[in-house]
Symmetry: C2
Subunit: 677 residues, 2 copies
């Protein structure tokens, strides 16, 4: 469903919009230009983006991408998240114990091997198992052969399978972070809005063998950045879009999935907000969860609002009907035509168990880090004794290193916040399923949610990393022998949790095969031009630096430092509009007209946070950190009239580093592309 | 279900716990003592309490009871809610245009007349209509005869009917309010908590014929107040308890009604919080709604937590089974035994339509003041042309004055907040029922919720009081001719709304008859001692000034001004823990050890806000403004181990008035019981 919008698309690096760029912008996206950009682009942790900006492994990403790490490195005495950090020497750079960087090395089409393995199975359960097994085998073969992290990526909802190989960096150190207050100036109220005034940046460095990594590619930093009307590109990892879903799936999102997700987010936001208000230390502990929840809530609201635009779903229904009309009566497309019915049915089946699945398998009913760890330990014991291809996906051999990095993370886990979260989610579980439900009774064990949560958090030992390591290494028998109450809770609900997941996996398999059939028909009728839905893998977007109109008023493409000080003043300097002291003091030193944040028509979505914005020369001219409100329906459709990507301008980064933070060495590394030696 | 707890009960003034008080506390609650307290007690507006404290109509209530009025009297330039108010002369007292005070004059048993009228009807619809008709007739007869506001009150869930007559005051003027910041110091985080530090008071004056009213009774103000261990009484209007519900009803509350209510509150809190954060003026406009929402959310959480204490419902189930055992085999109690089944069935029927009813008739799907007004205008046109006894209850002749006071209130209604609220509730409607639901399509008229709300709020005229008056007086034809889009929206959904309500009314009738049968059996077997569930009418509670233990730590009964300054300091003086400037400046003038807030074992619930606390001599020693967290399950049961009522101490009121606010005339009126003349 490619629209006529000029700058739409999150394109595969293996299938770039070369012709479009040539025709629209007379730009030649050469293989060398693309290859360099791909190798300088980095996936940061589980779901963020970043880029190398010096040959010595210096990485720039968003402050909000690094914030989880900053929180983990903080203590009540040293609050890096709030107060920022600056390593003036390599020795002062702070190791981040569980942060992983991945750089995409190669892309290989593995669809023939996947499809051949699945084609033999007609039963969905068996087909799913066969698919899981062949994918695990491909990933393991690749890992064994190359030593590189290897992920099979499903594209076009099952229309294609690509093997992505990544170079992994696991020794990552914190170099610089500004105060959260300037990184997220305006907080939740200004999130997804424009104009904006945020220095949402954070620097890390990749190390190898104890020294700064000599990375294969990096982006040259442009001190002057981009100007109005300039063509720019974004290279990053958009997490997920749903532009190729059928009407039945979109209606389910609109009427059930998103409203239900929103209710859970509202609940969590109120819980964390209320608890944070009780003391300053509470606020510090809950900070990242609260910010994440508010961000998800606002994004979900925007997506839902997009689906509730009746003209969108009406247009979608019309296009779908027309496409089905073209398939009708052609035997070679019979499977595609039938696929729509299959998708509607699988959507219905999944919706019918969605509440229970979200609560019991999805974790909504069992909140907090400790339960998640307890379940991982329980399942690791069982799963790791199975052949690789038969394991639950997260325990496959190819993902082992990442799983262990996360499972053994020494990040602080606060007993009070865990008790609060678990009690609340058990209350939610009881409220959704009824306190008389057998699983709820099993989970509560004759106690109230609050008493049960307090008892479990008090007596479990999973917060102890050594204990976790011991159970993980000891396997099933060690887990059973430990008789840990939280692991035993996970065990009590595991039969139903796994059963719900099994249904979801089988239905997902039906859905995937159906979408693949539609994708084949679409490619046969429309050609293979276009881009698949986002999947958290590397994509290229392009567009112009360009303002827009809102409620009849023009919104210019750029803000400036002067605007930052104005906004703080208008809002009376009250949180979240207060300026850090260095910014108050440093005002006179700054060039106030320096471009600060800017918007472009690049097509992005959550996961693009931290993506570099580059110019025709492939130079770094800014860093994506947000989209505007009008970008939120981008999950379902793109409309370049108002949808905008929001970035920090490269000139602002240099200006702030030198004049506010006195970070001259860092600024020099950016402008020279290397450490001073 | 009277427990063995010493101080339990919200007692009728017509059936006071005289014997209990004599036996436990050697106190003689004489008819004269009771009558005086009754006549000095005041119901404030829709759901608060207060008391007269001078013969010249001076009324004290809570700041949070008066806050709606303070908000209505405020403008962007003069924020009385935030900054407080002090009329130093009678002439400066500010008229409150829609605030009504009611003083209970008499109580009369009208059960025979009600029951006789209903007994003839076996069909629930007809029985409900007959009951509505006879009640309206009793109220109207009384109003015509006495000129007094006359309400028939249903007690014991239908076990008794009393006619309450009230003297009404509608010329009410604002005398004094402190800053909201000291009245609600600690805001939502400290709400329902203890220790507390709130000056939650507000003074009004009742007028008659343009002069201060000479009220029939008032409470003498005690400058020294109550001490630890002292017996005290609370006279006020507890809104609703559910201590006599059956297990089936309590389970429905636990598993459906409260979780669903909580979800709606979470949603509303997030909406108002996020909007308030966007600008200081937004925050001012949404302030009262936000505070009210947070308060309801915390109260609902506490109630739900009470129901989720398994020993409570287990005990309740045991008691119910035992009671049913006593009824079994006795033909005279056959109706009571059958009543349990009828209640379970009616609960099931009501639960099945609860979502639609809450959205469509209850207003969750159509938020904001304007829609409420639009629906009232639409229905007033239809209802007022019917015979009195056949109207929807809120349009009965006896309530006409109060309805008109509210309908023609000139309180400001903000278009932006109305649009926000309506758009959000329409989104909720679509999310709960599905955007394809016929009623939802009818309501949205082919637009998105946001576009539809914007259009409706922009084009309706119901915010104009003159327009409202014109349609109200013009009746059905004037309403139709106006063709107001918001009224027309109310019309589009009115058929289903009324149908849902009709089912609820018929089921409510079945339920009421069933509860009445149980009440008769209970009274026959256990005697008529005890108190009925709270119903928003005047009740008497009693208890001791007494601290408690929490998590093994003693919580003393009193706080002091010194504690206020400590708490502000610990919380870094950040909102909602900042002190108003007069309190910062006035600290050195205050006697810091003055008792400030205190707790007692009196059995109270929402609606008791503003109730006077009196001593054995009937003197005013404090004013209730909250309960602690442990009091929240009080909706279902009372336990004096930790359940505490929280009050402002009378000594603190005098100290603050004289030393912080320089309100000497007001202080003198309190201590002398009259205006200086």
């Amino acid at each position: 469903m490619l629209s006529a919008n000029a700058d739409e698309g999150m394109w595969l690096f293996s299938q770039p919009p070369a012709q479009l760029l040539r025709e629209q912008y007379q730009f030649d996206a050469s293989p060398a230009w693309l290859d360099h950009l791909q190798r300088a682009s980095v996936r940061v942790g589980g779901g963020g983006s970043g880029s190398f900006v010096s040959e010595d492994g210096l990485l720039i990403s968003n402050h909000h991408v690094g914030a989880g790490t900053l929180q983990k490195l903080s203590t009540p005495e040293r609050n890096l998240l709030r107060d920022g950090f600056h390593a003036r020497t390599l020795a002062a750079e702070l190791p981040c114990r569980d942060l992983e960087l991945n750089v995409l090395e190669s892309i290989e089409d593995v669809a023939p091997r996947v499809n051949a393995a699945v084609a033999k199975e007609s039963d969905p359960d068996r087909a799913f198992a066969a698919r899981r097994e062949v994918i695990a085998q491909i990933e393991k073969d690749s890992l064994d052969r190359t030593g590189l992290r290897s992920d099979v990526v499903t594209l076009w909802q099952g229309g294609a399978y690509h093997l992505y190989r990544f170079k992994r960096y696991t020794d990552v150190r914190l170099v610089f972070a500004p105060e959260e207050q300037i990184a997220s100036f305006g907080g939740d109220p200004d999130n997804f809005e424009f104009p904006r005034y945020d220095l949402d940046i954070c620097f890390f460095r990749a190390y190898e063998n104890g020294s700064p990594a000599r990375v294969p590619a990096f982006l040259r930093f442009s001190p002057q950045g981009a100007g109005v009307g300039e063509l720019v590109f974004v290279s990053g990892h958009p997490g997920r879009t749903s532009r190729l879903l059928t009407v039945a799936e979109l209606e389910n999102l609109r009427d059930q999935a998103l409203p239900s997700r929103l209710a859970a987010l509202h609940r969590q936001e109120v819980l964390l907000n209320a608890w944070s208000a009780r003391s300053q230390e509470n606020a510090r502990r809950a900070r990242r969860s609260l910010v994440g929840t508010q961000n998800s809530r606002k994004a979900t609201e925007g997506r839902l609002a997009g689906l509730l635009q009746p003209e969108f779903l009406a247009g979608k229904a019309k296009a779908e009907a027309e496409f089905k009309q073209r398939l009708t009566g052609r035997p070679e497309f019979a499977d595609a035509l039938a696929a729509y019915t299959a998708i509607a049915e699988t959507t219905r089946v999944l919706a019918a168990q969605a509440t229970r699945r979200g609560l019991i398998e999805g974790g909504q009913g069992f909140g907090g880090d400790r339960f998640r760890i307890a379940r991982t330990l329980l399942r690791a014991g069982d799963e790791r004794s199975k052949p690789d291809g038969q394991r639950l996906h997260e325990f496959a051999a190819a993902g082992r290193a990442s799983l262990e990095l996360s499972l053994f993370s020494p990040k602080p886990i606060y007993a009070d916040l865990e008790t609060l979260t678990l009690a609340d989610s058990l209350t939610y579980l009881a409220g959704q399923l009824g306190a008389g439900d057998p699983l709820v009774r099993e989970a509560l064990a004759g106690k109230s949610p609050r008493d049960r949560a307090a008892e479990l958090i008090k007596t479990t030992r999973v917060q102890d990393v050594a204990f976790r390591r011991q159970l993980y290494e000891g396997g099933t028998s060690a887990v059973a022998a430990a008789n840990d109450p939280l692991i035993e809770l996970a065990r009590r609900v595991d039969t139903e949790a796994r059963a719900l997941r099994k249904v979801a996996e089988a239905q997902g398999e039906v859905r995937e095969q159906a979408h693949a059939a539609i994708a084949r028909a679409r490619n046969a009728l429309n050609g293979t031009a276009g881009y698949p839905d986002a999947t958290g893998t590397l994509r290229l977007s392009y567009g112009l630096v360009k303002g827009y109109e809102e409620a009849g008023q023009p919104v210019p493409a750029f803000t400036t430092f002067a605007g930052l000080y104005d906004r703080a003043k208008t809002m009376g300097g009250r949180p979240p509009f207060e300026l850090p002291p260095v910014w108050v003091k440093g005002k006179t030193r700054l060039k106030l007209p320096t471009p600060y944040n800017f918007v472009s028509t690049c097509d992005i979505i959550g996961g693009n946070s931290g993506s570099p914005v580059v110019n025709r020369a492939g130079e770094f001219v800014g860093i994506i950190f947000d989209g505007n409100l009008q970008s939120l329906p981008g999950d379902y459709y793109f409309n370049d009239r108002q949808n905008r990507a929001v970035a920090v301008h490269s000139a602002a980064i240099l200006e702030a580093l030198t004049r506010i933070y006195d970070a001259r060495a860092l600024a020099r590394e950016l402008t020279t592309g290397r450490l001073a030696r």
